[in-house]
Amino acid sequence: MTPPPAESVAAMIRPVPRAPDSKVNRDLLAVMEGASLGYWALLGLSVAFVGLAGGIWIYQVYKGLGIAGYIHPVFWGAYIVTFVFWVGIAHAGTLISAILFLFRAKWRNAINRSAEAMTVIAVLTAAQFLGIHVGRIWKSYFILPYPNQRGLWVNFKSPLLWDTFAITTYATTSIVFLYVGLIPDLAIARDRAVGWRKLLYSVLSLGWQGTSRQWKSHNRSVLHLSGLATPLVLSVHSVVSWDFAVSIVPGWHATIFAPYFVAGAIFSGFAMVLTMMIPVRRIYGLEGYITNYHFENMSRFILLTSIIVAYAYGAEYFMAWYSGVESEQTAFYRRAFGPYWISTWTMILCNGVFPQLLWFKKLRTNVPFLFVLSVLINIGMWFERYVIIITGLSSEYDPAAWGIYTPSWYELGIVAGSFAFFAHLFLIFLKIFPVVAIAEVKEIAIHERSHAHAGEH
């Protein structure tokens, strides 16, 4: 890997970190200041969509799930598809923060904050779909194993219960992780802020002074949290995949699902980081911090996971053929050539074929290309879940009870609303919290400098 361009990093370095208002601080905190008309327009648009989706949801609770496009026997639809999609998106953050931290992949520092924020927001978005999906949201607390006089308990055999635990654990851990990483940066922001922000950051930064004792504790916390979060990266989507793999539905019942889903999640997560960070970098002029070097590294990850995902697609078809099970074969045949062929081929092209272009270095460093590709991957990954869930259910064991599902406009409204929900939280995050981890960027810079010194000696 090529090291980051030395001049940009060298420019940030001061011999002594004396002034709180270093260039790094100014550059990175500038993102949080003011807001252009464009920002407000975007925020307004996303809030409007969230409101619309909320309205649809209230109507759905009042009227019944029948307003969605479900058709016997396809009783899971766009809501679960979108749920799995957002859980997948939520993977890159922890992967970048925890696993790459443990592997000491320094290039992660520029993007880990945004990735972590994305994780938290995506998990929150995903979790809502559990409530949107169920028939009686007003009774959905039944799924929690709370003690009660009636002696009712939950079914620990059900993957949906595992799911509940996995998602809540993951959400908790990612929020803690994001917050702990934020503390030093919040202190920097506190030192510069006035008014309500001062109060907010003062409270949130927990009296951070930057003493070496604090740094030591901080680093240790991050290390331990990374250790805790690492298995979660693998477990959450494994558990989500078991929602399907544990069932007997043809096209769902496959042992490959856990690694397949995890790879897919990382794949989509990185794509989403690209989709979000390319415009942010452009708009806020962060080219000095988030460099093409970072994008290229992410592209390599995308390429790797794309190959895994494509392999999984192939393996599914191979197993369907090799199993000799007719229902399985029919399910997969109908996937590719049945009523859902558009979704299937969208998925294969976007996730398996297009990312192969990243073998070319020119394209890995071509930012507009990466942006387009990342959007395509997001689309492809949504369709991957659509294909798995819907085609599996639409043609199960009893051919007399097959059905063709199409999402209704209400459902699509709520799905669109989830993107707006994600966007509006991210936009708010941009303005309240440092979107690039200031302390960690500095750490690299210092590291670079000491390396440079070491070279001189």
């Binding site: 019944g64 799930l65 069932s247 229902s327």
Partner: protein, 1014 residues
């Protein structure tokens, strides 16, 4: 806000909190009021049954009306009744809905000057009718349906007293007038034959559709399927052969289907009779008449010449002729409605001659002299004469009861116009229809559940109708209305009428019997007189046997098919019948035109493309449904839809007031009669053109290919005789009979070992005809909502049991998966498998482990329980159910599916499910619990047969059996163990260990394999 002080704030808070609390309460408040005076016999929570009679069709099946707290909640067949022996058809099951129908006339209505109706009191209504009748000067006529002997004779006496010149006509759209006339022509006896198929070993059905609507379908279905029971040696010999242009429900249950040219049934029967005649004579047996006479009649009908005219190969005719001659109890059934051509009497006569030749007269075809007294529907010719009289102003007052001629007569008959020329039309309908809505005065009758009455469907059967509920509305029994009007007309009329109420008349009519016993039994049932073996009379030689003529307007022959569910359309306003899909095409709520694939290709249409069907008499547009099981020159359209009045019959419930639901095929037909004045249905050829429009067809089954998945299995009779097991030897490496297709009862996985019960069911596909009575029975028993056409189109139907229809084992090849449903039917192919599919109550149920809240769980008795209150609606259980029998409450169906007063018929033993929960078949757990309580009270374990789920109870052919799998002596176990080579578990490869065991259909082939009839 500044003005808001602390006290105001507190007030506001308390008001809004109170409001919120109130809003949180259910908006349908129900009051539980205890009886102030406990009525005799009524024990809250305990069902009381009243024996009565189903008056939906002239077959008059016996009923047990189950009532709870004074309300009928379910109709079941009366096991003692000789017609139905405890079973009911779908129409009979659904007919309970008439009493609670939201459309019911609540009071008498009088049409005002502007055409709008106003409700009036009975006194005024009675006086008005009396006045009109008095002023009519004898120009009074009546047109009624089947009324039963007592009411019928009262009506006739009333008309006589009122000075009516023409009297009353009994109009039955499916009147089968040709039967009596043909019997007169062939045997010289004016007796409508009675078909007793008990033990029949060779039934050839010339389009009678004997399992669907013909004469007495419940009785015939039971008799035919029992005769074919494969465990008995005789049953293995029995065959059902169907002749007709379309793979109807009956055809699909036959062992052989001869898709003869429509109209050629008569000559085909004669050709078979000729072969049989020779065989019978050479065997030295009597031929049912003077041999010379018969020889003369049959002379021109040799197999070769008939083969070319009927499209049935000569070898087939020869083979069937020889086989029927060999049979011990053969029966040939004449055409039903769809094939009633303008030569119906001759065709029917031909079939009766065949019956005579093979010795069926007196054994399976009965012509008892006693039957001559039975009231017969008026012939179509008489109905047309009445219409003429009305049109020419000869009728001043027309009284209508139980008929809907505006819908069921061809428009060419001009009934609607003639009705407008009648000075005063009075209708006694209890529910609105096209005809009653044209009446001047409506005097609403009670529904049969509120009425006294009787029926005499066949000699030896006198069936009683007794009320089981106090009338819901301000209605009056038709008999009482007549008596009241008669008394209001003055003493001279009153003197000619009996005193007392109609009820006292019924009691008087039954005075010779033990009335109390008859009330308990449901009537008086005696051994039916069978009549002798009447010989073919000389008059038979004068019958002309020719192919019928059709009114030509195009190349396609219109085949009006009686709907197995809606009958002639009388069932159209019952939501259960609309929502239950047609047994053959699986279309619900709509009309469709069945055409062959060839025809579809020629017309350039695909499934759902709207075609215009045009005869010289009418034009209809409806979606095409191409299928393989129909002749190319035929376009088949079911009778029964096309109503413009009625809550479910038309579209009026959905803001499309007065718009017809589907089309009325009768509008295409001319008002023609056969040779003897009976109604002819198969009369017109039509021009069919594509309109370019497309409609969505509410078809509930995607494909008839089961892809060799062992859902609906079949075993050949030969294999069965050889000791081989249910089908698919080849799929299992040729290990016939030795491979495991079901798991025996497993105490560890299937139920709690200590529990004495493991509930299970046997489902005999060889007996299931697909009639769908179980579907309706289940829906009514279990308060299953009916969701309507719009939601059926979106796959939201809710039935707990459905009848799957598969053709053969299917093909496992990967299809291209187009949206168009597959269709594997072929002309002459009868491998149709009707398979009831409901919750299998698996021992290792896939639905159970995936529910996060344990809303679905396993009971100690092996049931797959469902706790509605615990369900949060994740719907994972349905995803994981391989049988796809779970249904989800997408909406709150409580209000819309049971509009007032339909909620009164909800079964109080079964929870009405709320929005957002899953539901499914429970094996009628409420009945299990009732039986458990009874057994506990009596101090013994639950006896075998004490529990009968609704589907099992109503099955006309006894295809279903329920019981305890842990009891080796239980009926269900005996049945499964008694058929070891047929028993299998659906989708057994999934190892779900179901409680329901299927018995494979037996494919018998055209004739017994021991064969050698030559």
């Amino acid at each position: 806000m500044a003005e808001l002080d602390r006290r105001d704030f507190l007030k506001l808070v308390s008001v809004s909190a109170g409001g919120a609390a109130a809003a949180g309460c259910s908006d349908h408040v129900e009051k539980l009021i205890p009886y102030v005076v406990q009525p005799e016999e009524i024990i809250p929570g305990k069902a009381i049954q009243y024996a009565s009679t189903c008056l939906e069709c002239p077959a008059a099946c016996g009923l047990h009306v189950r009532t709870r707290e004074g309300r009928p909640i379910k109709l079941e067949g009366n096991p003692e009744h000789p017609v139905n022996r405890g079973a009911l058809c779908a129409l009979g099951q659904a007919s309970i809905g008439r009493t609670y129908h939201p459309d019911r006339y609540a009071k008498p209505r009088l049409r005002g000057a502007g055409g709008a109706y106003e409700e009036i009191g009975w006194d005024k209504a009675t006086a008005l009718l009396a006045e009109k009748l008095g002023a009519a000067g004898g120009r009074v006529r009546a047109l009624t349906g089947e009324l039963g002997p007592t009411l019928g004779s009262l009506f006739d006496r009333f008309l006589a007293a009122a000075g009516s010149s023409g009297g009353r006509l009994h109009y039955e759209p499916f009147g089968y007038e040709a039967l009596r006339e043909a019997s007169r022509a062939v045997f010289g006896a004016g007796v409508r034959p009675i078909f007793d198929l008990e033990g029949a070993d060779f039934v050839i059905d010339f389009g009678a559709d004997s399992l669907e609507t013909w004469l007495s379908p419940v009785e015939h279905a039971r008799q035919i399927e029992s005769a074919r029971e494969v465990t008995s040696a005789e049953g293995r010999e029995a065959r059902l052969i169907y002749v007709g242009p379309r793979l109807s429900m009956t055809a699909g249950n036959a062992d052989e289907w001869l898709p003869a040219k429509p109209g050629s049934e008569g000559i085909l029967a004669l050709a078979i009779a000729r072969v049989a005649f020779d065989a019978v004579r050479s065997a030295g047996r009597p031929v049912g008449g003077d041999p010379g006479l018969l020889e003369g009649i049959l002379a021109g009908f040799d197999a070769e010449s008939v083969a070319s005219r009927s499209g049935v190969p000569a070898e087939t005719i020869l083979r069937i002729g020889r086989a029927i001659a060999q049979a011990k109890r053969p029966a040939a059934l004449p055409p039903g409605v769809a094939l009633t051509s303008r030569r119906a009497t001759a065709t029917t006569a031909a079939v009766l001659i065949l019956d005579a030749v093979v010795g069926a007269i007196g054994t399976t075809v009965l012509l008892p002299a006693e039957a001559a007294a039975a009231p017969e529907p008026a012939s179509f010719r008489e109905i047309l004469k009445l219409v003429d009289a009305m049109a020419s102003g000869q009728v001043a007052v027309l009284m209508l009861g139980g008929v809907n001629p505006v819908h069921s007569l061809p428009p060419g008959a001009g009934f609607a116009d003639a009705l407008a020329k009648v000075d005063f039309v009075v209708s006694f309908a209890s529910l609105p229809d096209e005809t009653s809505e044209r009446a001047h005065l409506i005097l609403p009758d009670h529904t049969p559940l509120e009425s006294w009455g009787d029926a005499a469907p066949q000699p030896g059967v006198r069936s009683l109708v007794q009320p089981s509920v106090r009338p819901l509305f301000d209605t009056q029994a038709l008999g009482d209305s007549l008596l009241q009007v008669g008394r209001a007309m003055g003493d001279s009329v009153a003197a000619q009428l009996p005193a007392g109420s109609f009820r006292s008349l019924v009691e008087a009519a039954w005075s010779g019997t033990d009335f109390r016993a008859a009330l308990i039994r449901g009537g008086v049932f005696e051994a039916a007189p069978r009549g002798g073996a009447l010989p073919v009379a000389a008059s038979a030689a004068r019958i002309e046997f020719k192919l019928p003529q059709f009114e030509e307007a195009g190349p396609y022959l219109v085949l009006p098919v009686p709907s197995p569910l809606l009958h002639d359309g009388r069932g159209a306003n019952l939501s259960w019948l609309q929502e239950t899909p047609d047994p053959v095409t699986k279309v619900a709520w709509q009309s469709w035109a069945e055409i062959s694939h060839e025809t579809a290709k020629a017309l350039g249409v695909e499934r759902g493309d709207v075609v215009a069907v045009e005869t010289g008499f009418g034009r209809l547009e409806l979606p095409a449904l191409p299928r393989g099981g129909i002749r190319d020159e035929v376009i088949a359209i079911a009778i029964g839809q096309g109503h413009t009045v009625g809550h479910y019959a038309s579209h009026d419930a959905e803001g499309r007031a007065g718009e017809a639901r589907g089309v009325n095929v009768i509008a295409l037909l001319p008002p023609l009669t056969d040779e003897s004045g009976g109604r002819a249905w198969l009369t017109a050829r039509a021009k069919v053109t594509a309109t370019g429009a497309h409609a969505r067809i509410a078809q509930l089954q995607f494909t008839d290919n089961q892809r060799k998945r062992q859902l609906a299995e079949s075993v050949s009779l030969a294999a069965l005789a050889a000791g081989d097991g249910a089908a698919h030897g080849e799929a299992h490496g040729g290990e016939h009979g030795s491979h495991e297709i079901r798991r025996p009862y497993d105490p560890v996985n299937d139920a709690v070992p200590e529990s004495p019960y493991r509930w299970g069911m046997a489902i005999d596909l060889d007996r299931c005809t697909g009639c769908s009575a179980c579907v309706v029975a289940c829906s009514i028993e279990n308060n299953v909502p009916q969701v309507g056409e719009e939601w059926v189109l979106r796959g939201r139907q809710m039935p707990w049991i459905r009848i799957e229809r598969y053709l053969g084992d299917g093909e496992a090849d990967l299809e291209n998966g187009r949206r168009r449903p597959e269709d594997r039917e072929k002309l002459g192919d009868v491998d149709v498998r009707h398979s009831p599919m409901m919750c299998q109550h698996c021992g290792a149920a896939p639905c159970e482990p995936v529910c996060p809240v344990l809303a679905t769980y396993h009971t100690p008795e092996g049931l797959n329980g469902m706790i509605y209150n615990r369900c949060i609606g994740t719907r994972y259980c349905s995803n994981n159910c391989p049988y796809k029998v779970r249904r989800f409450n997408f909406f709150d169906y409580q209000i819309e599916s049971w509009p007032e007063p339909m909620r009164l018929m909800l079964n109080p033993d079964v929870t009405v499910r709320g929005q957002g929960v899953m539901e499914k078949c429970t094996y009628c757990v409420q009945r299990i619990e009732t039986a458990r309580q009874d057994a506990k009270n009596a101090g013994h374990p639950i006896a075998d047969g004490a529990i009968t789920p609704a589907c099992v109870q109503t099955c006309p052919t006894h295809a279903l059996q329920f019981g305890n799998l842990k009891d080796p002596q239980s009926g269900v176990n005996q049945r499964i163990e008694g058929n070891p080579k047929r028993a299998y578990h659906a989708l057994h490869v999934l190892n779900t260990r179901p409680g329901s065991t299927y018995l494979a259909k037996v494919s018998r082939g055209a004739e017994p394999e021991e064969g050698g009839h030559s």
